[in-house]
């Protein structure tokens, strides 16, 4: 194998140092909400200017690998996925942590990431030429069906009922149409200036996951006198490894899904984990365990999102077509060093290219070692952070992460509004994962459908265009099987459970009425628009939302009498002070600058939510927040030159 002629170069002192630092740094960056792998790699590009080509690429590759795995840490421990790629990990990872199995969940996360990551890179090394050909066969029609495969996953993602899941998914698809349509150039649903740019996926991710978590933490700290969250059980690393490797099916399904999704340019790898999660759940004898801390969910999701990394470089290295947003940034890293994707990479620049690919393998090893070493201590410490401190830290990081994506104050406002709505929706049995998936898939589905239709209109027509071709047929088959299976399971479950019992989720009535009103509002907005082509897709979504809302409503009406009203749904009295601080934080941030405002907000949140406050505690709070802000300042403003709101 050619790689062996070059792999020695990885083990130079400079490359190894970079690998270790990049892996450790990547794990930390990945764990922070908002600093997605794409952002992390983009931020590091300027640093590679000072390095030789191979070392620069080793840095970027290792950071890519480590950030993808790192996003699972915050997902498992705090219920906030570090990046879209980690959403599926959260679904069972956080429930595991709640059961005291945080360390174990992290072990599974890193072991599975390692297995998936290694296999992904091996696929890159051995199968690049044939896979590049396959990648090219994904045109608009194939991409459209790929998105629809993703949509069929939606119903199974963590919602209390399939219909609520589907409704949330369509809501997400609709949110993705807000802003200027890339294909038609028209502004849609922009009823406030904050929405002109649409809803950025990472903004939605942070809002929908982090904000409800902040509120939850605040409520917890009011209701319990002690701040401690959950216990952590001691687990031996060896037993984790043994169990993890014994879950062969989950690992295989995860890795395979990751490899396949990774090759498809533009699918983004963001959905690899979710597709894998859905598959492993469907193949499981007891699907009902998922969502309540089933290790297989973590194993499948994490092996998938790291297995995606290697293959996402296949179309990049051979054709210059990146398979994921992060790979797109890596392309810049290649070009700056004069490395053009294509055959030259493996001949003229073989030394640099093979060092880079080899370093991806070695990075997996470091990721495993560092990750496992951190598992116990991080779960031990994070789980012991009092919830008011955690809420304050997450608030500051969420605001900072959101702002830094595109330096937009509007995004911060949007993040907090979306998140506050999500807090309420959570209480009524809707969940964030299908909404985020909808936002990811919306543009893929719509843009490719529109482009495909334009091509088909001057060719053979839309039906043959979308319904013929082997890749199309395979994808359609997957869709049909996936939907058919979900329906079959739903029917089976309804038979098993006595009628009326199953959907006694809290607030079904209110949820159904709310969903119905929302669907009418969306429908109204679509109908009041000028009815151009740009509204075809939103119209379809309005119809779907209406249909799902109607089903919810009918279900709710049937059980009207038997329902008891929901529990005390929103603890506004406990939250009032927290929300006031956050609003104040937003208001002063633009004039006082990010760091000062954050320091004040952090202290204020902790202060108001700490019981039995005294002088000593106050001093400690002020000092801890000062230390926290200093750490952020050194890491981001001094080292990475991330731009912050306001002048400082």
């Amino acid at each position: 194998m050619e790689i062996f002629d070059y792999i020695g170069a990885i083990f130079s002192v400079s490359n190894l140092t970079v690998l270790i630092l990049a892996t450790a740094g990547g794990l930390i960056l990945g764990a922070l909400p908002g600093l997605s792998p794409t952002m992390a790699v983009a931020l590091l590009i300027p640093f590679t200017f000072q390095m030789d080509a191979a070392t620069g690429l080793v840095l970027l590759g290792a950071v890519y690998t480590a950030t993808v795995a790192g996003g699972a840490i915050s997902g498992i421990l705090v219920n906030i996925p570090g990046a879209p790629a980690n959403i599926a990990t959260v679904l069972d990872g956080h429930p595991m942590a709640k059961k005291g199995k945080a360390t174990q969940a992290l072990h599974f996360c890193f072991i599975s990431s390692f297995v998936g990551g290694i296999i992904g890179v091996l696929v890159l090394i051995f199968f690049t030429p044939p896979l590049a050909k396959l990648a090219l066969r994904f045109g608009p029609s194939e991409m459209f069906w790929m998105a629809i495969v993703g949509v069929t996953v939606i119903g199974t993602l963590g919602s209390k009922s399939v219909v609520k899941g589907l409704f949330s998914g369509v809501l997400g698809l609709w949110i993705s149409t807000i802003g200027i349509s890339p294909i038609f150039g028209e502004s849609r649903f922009v009823f406030t200036d904050h929405l002109t740019g649409g809803v950025h996926i990472v903004v939605a991710l942070i809002g929908l996951f982090a904000v409800p978590q902040i509120y939850q933490l605040l409520v917890t700290s009011r209701q319990k006198s002690s701040g401690g969250l959950f216990a952590t059980e001691k687990t031996s690393l060896l037993s984790s490894i043994r169990y993890n490797l014994s879950r062969f099916k989950a690992l295989t399904i995860g890795t395979l899904s990751g490899v396949i999704v990774g090759i498809i340019p533009g699918a983004g790898g963001q959905i690899a984990g979710l597709v894998a999660y859905d598959q492993v759940r469907k193949f499981s004898p007891d699907a009902s365990k998922f969502g309540h801390g089933e290790p297989d969910g973590v194993i499948a999701a994490e092996s998938a999102n790291n297995a995606m990394v290697g293959p996402s470089l296949v179309p990049l290295l051979t054709l210059g077509i990146p398979g994921s947003p992060t790979a797109a940034v890596l392309l810049g890293g290649l070009l700056i060093n004069g490395l053009f994707p294509g055959p030259d990479l493996f001949t003229v620049h073989a030394q640099v290219t093979w060092t880079f690919i080899g370093s991806l393998l070695v990075a997996q090893v470091f990721m495993l070692i560092i990750g496992l070493a951190l598992s116990r201590s991080s779960s031990y410490w994070v789980m012991r952070v009092p919830s008011q401190y955690m809420a304050a830290a997450v608030t500051v990081l969420a605001v900072f992460g959101t702002y830094s994506i595109q330096n937009s104050y509007s995004d911060v406002v949007l993040m907090l509004v979306l998140g506050s709505l999500m807090y309420v929706l959570n209480k009524y049995g809707f969940s964030a994962a299908p909404i985020v998936l909808g936002i990811i898939l919306g543009p893929i589905a719509e843009d490719n459908f529109s482009m495909g239709k334009m091509i088909a209109d001057v060719g053979d027509g839309a039906l043959p265009y979308f319904l013929t071709g082997s890749v199309n047929l395979v994808l359609i088959f997957v869709c049909v099987v996936s939907i058919g299976y979900s329906v079959w399971v739903e029917i089976k479950q309804r038979r098993q459970v006595a009628p009326g019992m199953k959907r006694s989720a809290p607030g079904t009535r209110v949820a159904a009425i709310g969903a119905f009103i929302a669907s009418l509002v969306v429908w109204g907005m679509v109908m009041s628009a000028d009815g151009s082509q740009a509204y075809d897709f939103p119209f379809l979504l309005a119809v779907l939302m209406f249909a799902f809302a109607a089903i919810l409503l009918i279900d709710a009406l049937r059980m009207w009498a038997r329902q008891k009203s929901g529990p005390g749904l929103v603890e506004w009295s406990d939250l009032g002070m927290g929300i006031a601080v956050i609003v104040g934080y937003l208001l002063i941030m633009q004039t006082s600058g990010f760091y000062l405002a954050s320091w004040i907000a952090f202290s204020a949140i902790v202060l108001f939510y700490t019981t039995d406050i005294n002088r000593q505690k106050t001093t400690r709070i002020v000092l801890v927040s000062l230390g926290f802000m200093t750490a952020i300042y050194v890491l981001f403003s001094l080292s990475l030159r991330v731009i912050t709101p306001g002048f400082f």
């Binding site: 349509s181 740019g197 482009m451 060719g459 204020a604 039995d612 406050i613 106050t618 002048f647």
Partner: protein, 324 residues
């Protein structure tokens, strides 16, 4: 306990008030006094982003700005999102600049309801010019622009042509081709140069307009039929003829000019300072070396030259787009 809370809140409020006191306004004399942010209206990894990062890499040198330039991305809707933000919300003290793409932003300002136009933006300097080229898949039957036009004449409306989006350089080139050759093609606005290229590589479309630099890097995986410029590109593609050489009258109006701009309202002395230093910075040998290595054609222009170029494009595009 409550009393203590109130006390500490008062303390915090007092600290806030002191620190919130208005900071001294920045004087042009000590410009720049902080890193300069440069907004790029396209995503990370795209040609504009990649070139902007190279073009601004020497800013921290004391010969130039003595402060680093930090790139940040505001992608969306073919650039509209980023430029809308820039022209309406960016600071006007010279610490927030933006990268421009001509003809994109001018064409969009004519065609859509944007908050930007050439009258509320001030060019600083131009670093690059990337002509649009007409490309077809490697196994395409077309070997010249003439052959492609002949087929399009025989099959009206059937020729699919991909490009990076609506009213970007590629789209303008497509409109010019339709007009000059008197044909009608089906333009497919992909969500960026990379997806547009992918559609040509995968033969999902019959042809495409794409950036010269990106097409050059594809080597023999595609065929480059013509350059939409007034003269051939001598460094990278000396053997590819222009449209004019093939009897199709297309000038350089679709050439993608890239450079740095400021908001109108920025103090004139700041603009003058930037215009001089940024222009010199683009000429740095290190910048030129990296640009060449990355296959990106440079065309360095002064502020005055860019002002003329913007005005010319505005007049031309007004005419071209009015016909639609």
């Amino acid at each position: 306990m409550i009393l203590k809370k109130i006390k500490s809140s008062i303390l915090i409020a007092a600290v806030t008030t002191v620190l919130l006191a208005p900071s001294a306004t920045v004087l042009a004399a000590d410009f720049p006094n902080a890193p300069i942010q440069v907004a790029v209206a396209y995503g990370p990894g795209g040609a504009t982003d990649f070139q902007a990062r190279i073009a601004t890499m020497m800013a921290g040198n004391e010969k130039y700005l003595n402060m680093p330039m930090v790139i940040f991305n505001k992608p969306g809707a073919g650039g509209q999102k980023g430029w809308n933000w820039y022209a309406s919300s960016a600071s006007q003290d010279g610490h927030q600049l933006a990268a421009y793409n001509v003809p994109h932003f001018i064409a969009q300002s004519l065609k859509f309801d944007t908050s930007y136009n050439i009258n509320n933006l001030e060019p600083i300097a131009n670093w690059g010019a990337d002509p649009a080229v007409l490309i077809v898949p490697a196994d395409s039957p077309f070997n010249s622009a003439t052959e492609l036009v002949a087929w399009a004449k025989a099959n009206p409306g059937k020729l699919t042509v991909s490009g990076a989006g609506l009213y970007v350089g590629h789209h303008i080139a497509g409109l010019q081709l339709d007009k000059a050759a008197n044909i009608s093609t089906q333009y497919i606005p992909a969500g960026g140069g990379v997806p547009a290229m992918k559609m040509v590589l995968g033969s999902q479309v019959m042809a495409g307009f794409n950036n010269l630099s990106d097409a050059f890097r594809q080597g023999d995986r595609i065929k480059i039929l013509a350059v939409a410029d007034n003269q051939r590109e001598e460094t990278f593609l000396p053997n590819v003829p222009t449209f004019k050489e093939q009897g199709i009258d297309i000038d350089d109006s679709s050439v993608n000019f890239r450079g740095i701009m400021a908001r109108t309202g920025t103090p004139p002395e700041v603009i003058d300072f930037l215009a001089e230093r940024v222009h010199a910075m683009f000429q740095d040998a290190k910048v030129a070396g990296k640009m060449k290595a990355g296959g990106s054609p440079m065309r360095i222009m002064t502020r005055a030259q860019v002002q003329n170029m913007w005005a010319e494009r505005q007049v031309y595009l007004d005419g071209l787009l009015a016909d639609l």
